[in-house]
Symmetry: C2
Subunit: 431 residues, 2 copies
């Protein structure tokens, strides 16, 4: 053809599934959307690109390196790297139109130009639910944590949530004989799960934690259990911030119980990576699969819109790492079978029954059955081969006899068994 | 705060709805997804960005100006401007993994850097369903046209499809005393609807159509009606391509009738803007609202992957301009009421009934009722005000008596009427 061919390359690290996997992923997203809406969250869909001035308003240098940034005409533009800054821009820009507390969920793609590696993507989905308001009691923190229950139920998964409150750790550090930057200590505690005990201790000592304080810190970050285990700390750290944190967890706990939340416990080593969290923090795991890592998390933050308006708005949010979760379910073979997506019944026609085959196909689809004609241009043998290759579970060969009698032979391609049935019986057995 | 505020600007022309509108738009998308999957199309979700080499493989200079293009490291990248080129890249790159005919739908954002104006967006959604295969009989063209019926039914709209075949116009032009480029004539015919009769004739004459041929062309492009009106032309244009086009429309028509398709007719002025169409072409309108313009269209094309592989794959596809459609429904007040989205029941608690209010809220949500607590930190009066402002249709004030008796008073905020009910009655009347 004299046509120079171009290699059909996709950019590495950009998320793309096969159509059958995508059907399962879409099912996952619609289940989550239904849960969020049932829990009174409204959807938001912000642009994938924003002005750089807006997106980079608060970020440090780290984000800059990872970001997709470009100019178009005079506009300096970035692809969004999370859904939180766009939420802040939206709330500030539409402040007078919104009802508060404003509960929104957003499922959308975000972009990070880092080197792609296993489990890390450059384009991937985030799924966030946040509640924004001028004064948000702990009820809303409880609501965000509770939300994991119906979300995971809708995905046919069991969830386990681990909860802490950043005020505890700040209070604890404030009470220590420590002169360094406590932000460094938060960063170390965030790695408690990933480091060996020895390396963790080495890092703490390296940042100047004294041998005397080390024991307290180690006992504190190792604390896991119910609210009683948390309350045991009440009088051990004489610090107002610490005490405030304990009281917040107590208030949260009674609300979680009122909501009927199960499958949660406290883990005082939870801090979350983002420094904008100010109180409640939590992470979630697939129950019994903690080794696969957190598949969601969130917490309480203050002053969401501070870069855009002179109004102090609080927020609390939860998120599910759906790209990562799907990736895990796929590699652990926990996805519902792919066979359930796609064509259910293949219809094989002959030249003289093509029209009747189309009518039957349309009627079946209108009855909710995924029926599809096998390409009419092929020979009978090739049609059977196509049905086999495509793993279509049921087949119907439509001859003139079938058209006349309105009795169809339904063939189960797995077992090879055949049953004769009317249209109604066809619909019933395929539903 | 000493904090320089940044104006929370969104890039002009990028599509963003209010959360209540977005809830309606999401409903529209899920209805369409369900229809596509029921009709045996599988979903595809390709990256928003692709290598420029891939995306611009076949485009002319026009696209270049409109495109968002940038570099990241060594990569030359574009935001996609349609979903067809990514489909071609996907099919060529995954050729051995796919079953043919490959039926996929995709709903996704596309980007065009043109000057924004009413009804034109820089970031907007496209919604495409295509069938790709090595040999596709007209049955697949019929299937794509038929698809408008369940799609529009799912959106509670009536559709009207207008159909033609590009072979007719090519055959007609080939038979004329015309020496110019027929592509120019296609471009003029594409404007038949938009130009006045006088301007249309002026353009044809300007391109060198003779006065003798003008009458034939005018009668041809004015032809509208059933298949009989099309067949009337059979012997009037002695050209093999023209005759081929007529036979294709006849074959298409019998298949459309077999599928039970209604609400379609032939309009021989339909050519579609894209030059890649080679046979069947069609456009769709909201029935009775043709003046609002086409809200979808599609047709038959050849050689989808020619830039990426040495294999001739045919395709036929339909699309719905969902951003435009939603925009029209909004401005024509044809959207289902926004009141149906968001909170259905507001629960007003007191300090002593907060926990019971949370339990009730969770139980109601688990029964499918969108119940939400009114922010507990407000005074009773402020809570009532909030419920009113947010247009919550029903309200339940939970005092200690209600908790004890498990009898609730449900207040209709529209009529002011109140009824006493048990939990079950509450669920029933709010469902």
């Amino acid at each position: 053809m004299g046509n120079k061919l171009i290699e059909p390359r996709k950019i590495q690290g950009f998320w793309e599934l096969t159509p059958k996997e995508e059907a399962l992923f879409e099912n996952m997203l619609s289940s989550l959307r239904a849960v969020f809406e049932n829990n009174c969250f409204l959807p938001l869909d912000t642009p994938v690109a924003e002005f750089s001035e807006v997106l980079l308003a608060k970020s440090g240098g780290d984000v800059d390196k990872e970001i997709y940034r470009f100019t178009k005409g005079h506009a300096d533009i970035c692809l969004r790297y999370d859904l939180t800054v766009p939420l802040a821009r939206f709330v500030a820009g539409n402040y007078n139109l919104l009802d508060f507390p404003f509960k929104r969920y957003q499922i959308g793609k975000v972009y990070r130009g880092e080197r792609p590696q296993k489990g890390r993507f450059r384009e991937f989905y985030q799924c966030d639910a946040d509640i924004i308001g001028e004064e948000l009691p702990l009820t809303y923190d409880a609501e965000c944590i509770y939300l994991y229950k119906p979300c995971f139920k809708a995905l046919n998964l069991d969830v386990e949530v681990e909860i802490s409150n950043r005020k505890l750790l700040s209070g604890l550090f404030a009470g220590l004989n420590y002169s360094g930057d406590t932000a460094d200590l938060f960063t170390i505690v965030d790695k408690f799960d990933k480091l060996s005990r020895e390396d963790f201790i080495k890092e703490l000592l390296g940042k100047g934690i004294s041998e005397t304080d080390l024991d307290t810190v180690m006992r504190f970050v190792s604390t896991k259990g119910g609210i009683e285990e948390v309350k045991n700390w009440t009088n051990l750290v004489p610090n107002a911030e610490f005490y405030h944190g304990i009281r917040e967890l107590e208030a949260l706990d009674s609300r979680l119980r009122a909501l009927g939340m199960e499958n949660y416990h406290y883990n005082l080593s939870i801090v979350r990576g983002h420094n904008y969290y100010t109180g409640t923090v939590f992470e979630c795991y697939i129950k019994g699969k903690r080794n696969l890592g957190a598949v969601g998390g969130g917490g309480r933050y203050d002053n969401l819109c501070k870069n855009f308006m002179d109004k102090n708005l609080q927020g609390v949010g939860m998120s599910i790492g759906i790209t990562r979760l799907f990736d895990i379910l796929k590699s652990e073979n926990l996805l519902s079978a792919e066979e359930n997506v796609g064509v259910k019944l293949g219809i094989v026609t002959f030249e003289e029954t093509l029209k009747e085959g189309l009518t039957l196909m349309a009627k079946l689809r209108e009855s909710g059955i995924k029926a599809d004609l096998i390409n009419e241009t092929k020979s009978f043998k090739a049609k059977m081969k196509e049905a086999n290759k495509r793993n279509i579970p049921f087949l119907l060969v439509l001859g003139e006899d079938e058209v006349k009698s309105e009795k169809y032979t339904l063939k189960d391609m797995q077992t090879g068994s055949q049953v004769a049935c009317t249209f109604e019986e066809l619909v019933k057995s395929l539903s």
